[in-house]
Point group: none
Chain length 121, copies 2
DNA sequence: ACAACTCGTTCACATCGTCGTCACCGGTCG
DNA sequence: CGACCGGTGACGACGATGTGAACGAGTTGT
């Protein structure tokens, strides 16, 4: 595998989640997630800016490669698709957090702990 | 263990499946699988890169030794032939996983885990 | 040489996955 | 409370993949 050692093999880690954009693959606990192209790219862009709030428009630009039309709900829909698959793969964790009026933020957080409503690991 | 291409007695193991390219042989539970040349080579190339997604074009290049014409379905057809024989040899396991839009990924996975449509392993 | 067989390739059709969109519902904030 | 904003399930169109079968070339057995 004589790949250039520089930009290849990017690996993004968000808690127990592992994303390998160059492999078109995301893993959780050694298991590969079955994600579509859009889903993986959205997950990748979110993970690249973990802990930061990303506006829908910015996400759309990064993933779809064009400007988002006002009223387009694609990002919301794909966020949901990702949430469903991530929940199936890693029950008890949540990764994509809504910031009302602003957008989404990626961060690995455990669920059902009364004291973590205002903190992130 | 990354094996050099010319290593003698290369043995590939993917779960309960054992592949001996130099012997032109694949085994499952001590029993030899009846595979044709193409089938064995395809299985071998897939197994050499287990857990990684391989594009059809790459597989075709490795197995057929020439460039794949657009629209050529040979890889698909042989993936099916392998799946049928692997299923017959090892019921309850699946090895060749489709990644829509990208290609195939080799990994030993047990079936009938009830409800995990979103992960493999 | 002939028949029977295996293999590789290609085709046509069936089935499935993905994407974008919509409508409706529930939650959030002023 | 009322106006938005986000969550959610469903749908149709399209393209990708699954699948069975036909075909011809090559091989083996007689």
């Amino acid at each position: 595998m004589a790949l250039a050692a520089n930009t290849r093999s990017e690996v993004l880690t968000v808690g127990p989640l592992e994303i390998l954009p160059d492999e078109h693959l995301a893993r959780a606990g050694g298991r590969a997630l079955m994600l579509s192209i859009r889903e993986l790219r959205l997950l990748t862009e979110l993970a690249r800016r973990a802990d930061r709030i990303m506006a829908r428009e910015e996400l759309f630009r990064l993933v779809w490669g064009r400007e988002m039309r006002t009223g387009d709900r694609s990002v919301d829909v794909y966020v949901r698709k990702l949430r469903v698959k991530l929940e199936a793969a890693l029950p008890g964790w949540s990764f994509i957090h809504t910031h009302f009026g602003f957008g989404y933020r990626m961060a690995a957080e455990r669920k059902q702990h009364g004291n973590d409503r205002f903190t992130t690991d």
